[in-house]
Structures are given as structure tokens and as C-alpha cells.
Amino acid sequence: MPNFIMSYLGSTVTPGEAGNQFWALIYVLIIFAAVSLAVVAMNWFERKALAHFQIRLGPMRVGPHGLLQPIADALKLALKEDIIPAEADQFVFWIAPVIGLLAAFTVYTVIPFGPSQAVSDMNIGVLFMLGVSSLGVLGIVVAGWASNSHYPLIGALRSSAQMVSYEVAMGLAVVSAVLMTSMKTGTGTLSMIGIVESQQQQGIWFIFKFFPLGLIAFVNFVIAMIAETNRAPFDMAEAESELTAGYHTEYSGLRWSLFMLAEYAAMIAVSSIAVTLWLGGWLRPFPNLLNAPAWDFIFSLFPGLTFGALAAVAVIGVMRMPVHPYFRVQRIGLAVFAALLGFIALFLLVIALAGRSSDATVAARFRDGIDYVYWFVLKVALFMYLFIWCRATWPRYRFDQLMRVGWKVLLPITLVVLILTAIVGVIVS
């Protein structure tokens, strides 16, 4: 069996391309677990970061520095009574969160964490991603309708209008990135892996391509993506102060947590798309400029060092905790967590060292795989921070203003950028 695993680690294509359903299934499971874990981590991180923006501490009680808070929350939600309003449409009420969740998670099938670290490399990857993420709106609309209540209905109508209109700007921004893939070879590609590879070939992230056209398209995409995921400052659908909770007002317990899971999964998904299209996906910084093997080695140390730094932060946290019987369990818990992080760091460093020896060995491939995933996740994490930052900083747009921004500002700008990209591309080539 180890040989079997190792033989796959040496593969250079995605399991979908190889037609290997077994590995594709394993990838799907890994991604599902990882995304769920990421959502849990994001939950904790959002609460902590938001709290520190707002001069509070955030969760501190459940586990050291509230590390176990998301788990406690999940348990609480799972154990809560699952209320279906008497007048609600039972079946639709039941299926609505599932639709949202399915749409959010299906997008991950085409997201490339590395040149072979994806479930599948569809040649219509970008279109698939746009289409599937647009299905998420169905869950919201249907949830609002099935609740048979005014606030959810208004929330659902708002968010459906919002998501449908921002999808247009989003799609056009994506098209301008796709257009850039055709610059050197003459034929563009819609495959997500192909897009990253063409950034590698052209030696430039598309955010810097045809400066500032790529940048403008990227910024437009980011704005549209925040609106698309119903996050502040575009969180009309769940505007707490206006519509109590928008489309999920009537939901409780596990079902509600499915909505949350879908929302965060969708956030991570759209961020991954932005990273893939404009920020070079899995590519490390300056892959062309600093391409000596020594640089490869130095950059391959980053994952281990990152985990080492996290472990150091945890150790500092242990040191700073008051020495008091009350904090004994928490200290021990944090120390164990630090040890865990340190162990991961050590493991990653060992792999980086092992992969140094030669290029074609399994260890080298494994090291590369970790590198790819590391850089990808790091870029996505920056986007996650951006989401939180926006939420902490800005007031909420009003619905009509939101639509105005979408149709009268974002859409024309994106359209002009698209046309200019085409013109510049023709002139250059």
C-alpha cells in the first residue's frame, strides 16, 4: 500500500485527468475535510481578529485563547432543537441549506492547489466555477421563500438580485484574465491549471499584467466576490439591523450551521479563484527571477518556518499565561498545541531537506506538493484576512446603492478593462 501511495505522489497529472477515480475520491475527501477544518479555523480567526480590531479579546474561555470555541459552537449547534416553522414548506426548508452547501463545496473540484493537486483539470474550469458558484443563490432564495415569513423573503429577494447582478461583473473580470492567458501562445485556456501555467510561462502574475489593467480587473473581481458571498459591506441579505438575520432568520441549530458552513466555504472558494486567476495560484514569489535550485530550497523552507513561527507564538502564549491553578489546564492545552505545531514544522523541514537531494525522487515531488499547497493557502489566507478587515471597517451599503455600484460603476469599468485588455493584447502581440 505505501508503494501505491508513493506511486501516486510521483504523478504529474490530476486524478481526474488520469481517469483515476479512486484517487479522485480520496482528493475529494481530503478537500472536504480540509475545507471544513479551514471553516472552523476561519471561524476562530474571524472572531479573534474582529475582536482585536474592536479592542476586545474575543473568545478566551473555551480552551486556551478560545481555540476550542468553534468546536464548542459546532457541538452546541448540533445539539440544538431543529425547529421547522409550522407554516414553512417542509421539504424546501429542509433542502435549501443543502443546496447552498453543495454549490459551495462543488467549486473545489476545479480549484488547483498545485499542478497535480486538484481533483480534476476541466478544460471549462472557469466556466464550471462560475456556474456552480451561481447555484448557491438558489439555496438562499429557496430558504427565504420556504420560511414563509416576511424578513427572510425580503432577504432572499435582496440577495438573489445582488448575487445575480454581481455575477455579471465577476464574469467579465474573469474573462479579462482568461484573455491574458492567450497572450504568448495565441490560444487561451479556461482550465484553472492552464491559467496558472500560462502565468508561469509569461513570467508574470496577471495582477501585474498590462499594468494597471490587470490590477483594476482584480480589484473589481474582489469587490464582486465580497458582494457575491454576501459579506460586509455588502451583507444586505443578512443585514442584522434591518432584517434581523435575512434569509436564515427562521433557521436554527444544525441547519443554520450548514448555511454558515456554506458561506465560509464559498468565501474560501472565491478567494481561491481570485488567487488562481490573478495571484499566480500555487506559484511561489518570483519563480522565474529566482529560479536557481538554491532558491527552490530556500523557498521550500517557508512552510516549516511558518509552522515554527506559529509554534513559537503558542509557546509565548504559554509563557504569558498566569501561573495559577485555574490556568493549569489551559497552559497544558496550549503547550500541547505548540508541540503539535512544532512537530508539524519539524516534519515539513525534514521533508524540505530530504527533497533537496535530487529532483525526480518521490521526496522531491512531495516537497514540491507541500510548497504548492503552502503558497496557495497562504494567498487564500490573506484574502480571508481581507474579508475580516472589510467587515470591521465599513458600514453597510443600502440595497439600491449596492445595485447602483454593481451596475453603474463596477460593470462599465470591468467592460472597459476587458476591451482595453483585448486592444493592448493585439497591439503587443
Partner: protein, 195 residues
Amino acid sequence: MNPSLNMALISAFTTTTDPGMAPVATPFFFYLLSGLAVAGGFLVITRRNPVHCALALIVTLIAMAHLYLMLYAPFVAAVQIIVYAGGIMVLFLFVIMLVSIERASKDRRFNRIWPVGLAAACALMALFVSAFVKGRALFPDRMIAIPEGSNTQQVASMLYGEAGRMGQYTFAFEIASLLLLVAILGAVIMTKKKI
């Protein structure tokens, strides 16, 4: 475990050695998807509640998108999901919510002349059946593989043309976009309260 067994394991999970994205387990998925599509279509015309109908139609549309994928038409499949499931059906749901459906759910489902309609449809079905039975030979069993990797590109070159030449359907495509524009304007004007 020896290497040869590994290879056997790998090949057991691999139905094809073809590096392209050939559909797998075709009959199973075909029957599954077409069953879903037809069941969805049946629910569309029988359910009382329009929202249920819309959901059933969405199931049909997604199943048909997968059928397109099996027919080596990934671009059409993507367009189907983006435009139909993500756009048109949201529009439908939007409208269903705008027009109150409390009354509609209590009303009669079918109109008074439904037997006539059903009879006409049955006649149509009979026509189809006879055509299929008699003209079975007209539909050869061949399936020519279309190169899937460049499908989008080929469709694009038919629509837009390539290397500076107009495509075969460029003019028709422009007309279609004009049609969409007119439709948008018409819809906006009709739904506007006061012009």
C-alpha cells in the same frame, strides 16, 4: 504488496488509459441522469406549488447539463448551468415570489380543457414513437468522438471566426445578441411601473 499488484490496483480504478477525459461508466450515468431529467420534467408539470416545479426543473436542467458533458459538449453544459440554472431559474423563482402564490396553490392545477391537451400530447408521442420505430435505421449507432480538449475553442471559432476571418455564425451570433438586448429592454419597459 508487490509492484505488479499495485499496478493491477491502479488499473482496476482506471477505466481508460486514454489521457483525454472520456466519460466513464456511460450506461449507468446515462440512465441515472436521463431518469432524473424525465422525473424532474414530470414533477414540473404535476406539482401544484410553482416553487416545487422550479426546483424540479432545476434538477432536470442540471441532469441535462451532465448529459451534454457525456456528449462531449462541455461548453454547452457550462452555458446550460450558468444561464439556465444560475440565471433563468433564479429569475423564475424571483417572479414566483413577487406574484403571490398563496392563491395559486389552492386553485385547480389544470385548465378545463386538459383532456384535449393531454390527447394532443399523446398524439404527438405516438408520432414520435412511430417515427423512432420506423426510422430506427436513420440513426446509426456511431458516435464520433469530438476532440474535447479544444471544444470551447472550436465552438468559439465557429461563432467568432479565427485569424481575422468571420466565423460561420458570427452574423447569427450578433443577431442573437441584438435579440437579447431587445428582450432586456422589453422586459424592463413592461415591468416598470411608470414610464
